[in-house]
């Protein structure tokens, strides 16, 4: 019994599922890393993902191509990013309230439009994103099964992780972005308005969360939109951002961890009620948050002990 369960857990299928579950969270976490660096607490990612999922399907439905859907999502991402920044940066509103309201607004807007356009039963089977076949990869026994023939955005995410990492740590813009969150007044003295970097971060976050949603609806579910399909992924992405201290590469690893537990949950459904296994990734997220805080407190205590010794 245990042997079969373990075999099911550590199969290629699980790791493939891990990759699938992790990707939308990872894309959103990349976006969240931008706003986090700019010093904005972004609770609204869930709503941004949901809007991305809806507008992706809408574009695909209206123009009959997934590429048009992604185009509409990118447009929407910029608009949502601008909207978020307008309230949080320009009007200096409470980030928590705006984020929560954005989530509810997205839920209302997408459900309303979905029912108005597609009717109560929703929509299915719109043109979806292609899967990518890499010739030759199949010959590698385990990795081939895990890595090959996945939806396009899974590979795009790898590229984006690299690009965002380079952007944050290796370009002057990334440097200014981090400064706008950590030491905004210093950045202003250097002649760059921190507000501008916050606007940029917000737009990038809108774009990346939009792509996360597009992957969910156009990639993972093959052109299907269901109400509230983001399903708290935005919050899990937020936890990944905190966990990784907004480092894009680490955020991806955190998302993979979430994906792994999600995949295990799906595997265990044959043995335990799926309602119970569904809770695993959320419990892991709480454990992750506790771990992050305990770790940083321990570090602080350690630093506090060392400091006087250094001075003395």
């Amino acid at each position: 019994m245990l042997k079969t369960i373990l075999a099911a857990i550590f199969s290629a299928g699980t790791f493939n599922q891990m990759l699938r579950s992790a990707t939308p969270v990872a894309l959103a976490a990349l976006g969240g890393a931008m706003t986090e660096h700019a010093g904005i607490m972004n609770i609204g990612m869930d709503g941004m993902i949901l809007m991305g999922a809806f507008f992706g399907v809408l574009g695909s439905y209206l123009f009959g191509s997934a590429a048009a859907g992604v185009g509409l999502v990118l447009l929407m991402g910029v608009v949502v990013g601008l909207f978020f920044a307008l309230f949080v940066v320009k009007f200096k509103s409470d980030e928590f309230i705006i984020g929560t309201a954005l989530n509810t607004f997205a839920l209302g807007l997408t459900s309303f439009l979905s029912r108005a356009i597609f009717g109560a039963s929703g929509t299915k089977g719109n043109p979806a994103l292609p899967t990518v076949h890499i010739p030759g990869l199949d010959s590698i026994p385990f990795l081939g099964q895990v890595l090959n023939d996945n939806s396009l955005f899974i590979y795009l995410t790898w590229l984006l992780v690299l690009v965002m990492w380079l952007f944050v740590y290796k370009t002057p813009y990334g440097f200014w972005l981090r400064a706008s969150g950590e030491k905004p007044e210093t950045l202003r003295t250097a002649g760059i308005a921190p507000e501008k970097m916050k606007w940029l971060a917000s737009i990038l976050c809108g774009l990346l969360c939009g792509l996360a949603g597009a992957h969910l609806s156009l990639g993972q579910l093959q052109g299907t939109f269901a109400e509230n399909m983001a399903n708290s992924r935005g919050y899990i992405a937020f936890a990944c951002v905190i966990f990784s201290k907004a480092n894009p590469a680490m955020a991806y690893i955190a998302a993979l961890m979430f994906g792994f537990f999600d995949a295990i949950g799906l595997r265990l459904q044959d043995y335990i009620s799926s309602d119970l296994t569904n809770t695993i990734p959320y419990i892991i997220t709480i454990v992750m948050m506790v771990y992050v805080v305990v770790r940083s407190q321990r570090k602080k205590r350690y630093a506090g002990k060392r400091l006087p010794a250094k001075q003395g």
Partner: protein, 362 residues
């Protein structure tokens, strides 16, 4: 000391509401509906007959209690976003307690169920409260995660161990003994005697928060925890206790929904109701009295929107859109005024310069 009535708040609320309806109308037009017809159907849906009035009073009760539960947390500086989970768990547990005690008198079963609902809701709020105070984990994320976990657990209980005997009802518990049902006040509607209990709870919450020294200590803890701590207030204890009471209130709302309306547990017991209460609290700037008044307004909107869906075929989610647009405006209120003022000052300064230049030339 009598507090001056805040006219500025009322004016900005009215402007926000009007703007929100205007934006809602634009969205309705884009989606191909006639906004005037839709809004007329909305008013009609809330007031056309006694049943709808009963429904909206029941929903106002839910909004008021959940909104106050949120205020209770935010007053001491902790945001209870997990009310939805506390509500669902309170509902399922109180329902099952009623099922177990089916043979006993209602005088035993109902208090037992209420206690169970409060205990479960309170305990479920204790987890994030304790983590926040003792470990300093951000409560927003933990409570949201706990919501999803609670929804799954309730679904599991309703499908598995506590499922009813009827094969056709997949995810629901056993129906309660009719002796335990709260008496319905307006036939056909959801309004039951639970509203009396709700009024008492509302009054108590308001009284404790606004009129007692405990309420003052709560306010101090929320506004300046360090100062409160050094003036000898046990801030940790106050935060945890407020969070637990907030959770217990949400659990009770779940029980009211079961015993007053549905008479069994199924997931339709709450459809993100806590989040709507939370938004009411946000729009009210976490002021308990304003929460009470606003919950009536938003209950009318919600029940009206449901009536509108039936009569005019407009999806009722337009209600969520209008409600959140109001929050956006209310949250940005000071920022919008500040940037308007800055703009007019800039214009004035520019005009001054121009005038001075003109004088210089003359």
């Amino acid at each position: 000391m009598k507090k001056r009535f805040n006219w500025g708040y009322l004016v900005s609320l009215l402007i926000s509401v009007l703007l929100a309806f205007a934006i809602g109308a634009v969205i309705l037009v884009i989606a191909g509906f006639n906004p005037l017809e839709a809004y007329a159907a909305m008013v009609d849906g809330a007031f056309s007959n006694a049943r709808h009035i009963g429904d909206f009073l029941e929903y106002a009760m839910v909004l008021c209690l959940t909104g106050l539960a949120c205020v209770l947390g935010s007053r001491v500086g902790i945001f209870n976003v997990g009310g939805e989970g506390q509500l669902l768990l309170g509902a399922v547990v109180s329902c099952q307690v009623g099922v177990w005690l089916a043979g006993y008198s209602a005088w035993i079963a109902i208090p037992a169920a209420a206690l169970a609902a409060m205990a479960v809701g309170g305990f479920y709020a204790l987890i994030p409260g304790w983590l926040k105070v003792k470990v300093k984990v951000n409560e927003v994320i933990t409570t949201i995660m706990l919501n999803t976990i609670a929804a799954s657990i309730c679904q599991y209980l309703a499908k598995g161990p506590w499922k009813n005997a009827n094969k056709n009802m997949v995810a629901a518990t056993e129906k309660l003994d009719p002796r335990f049902w709260f008496k319905t006040l307006i036939p056909g509607s959801g309004l039951s005697t639970a509203i009396v209990a709700a009024i008492v709870i509302t009054f108590l919450t308001w009284y404790v928060m606004q009129k007692t020294s405990v309420g003052y200590e709560m306010k101090l803890t929320g506004q300046n925890p360090r100062f409160a701590f050094f003036s000898g207030i046990k801030t940790d204890k106050i935060v945890i206790v407020c969070m637990v009471i907030s959770g217990a209130m949400c659990g009770l709302v779940g029980m009211f929904r079961v015993y007053g309306v549905e008479h069994l547990y199924r997931s339709s017991i709450s459809n993100q109701y806590y989040f709507e209460g939370l938004t009411v609290a946000m729009i009210a700037h976490y002021d308990p009295v304003t929460v009470i008044f606003l919950s009536f307004f938003f209950a009318v909107l919600k029940i009206g929107a449901q009536g509108m869906e039936l009569s005019a075929g407009v999806p009722n989610q337009i209600y969520l859109i209008i409600q959140t647009v109001i929050i956006f405006f209310m949250a940005a209120e000071s920022g919008i005024f500040a940037s308007l003022r800055a703009g007019s000052q800039r214009r004035k300064a520019r005009a001054d310069i121009r005038r001075k230049e003109g004088e210089g030339h003359a």
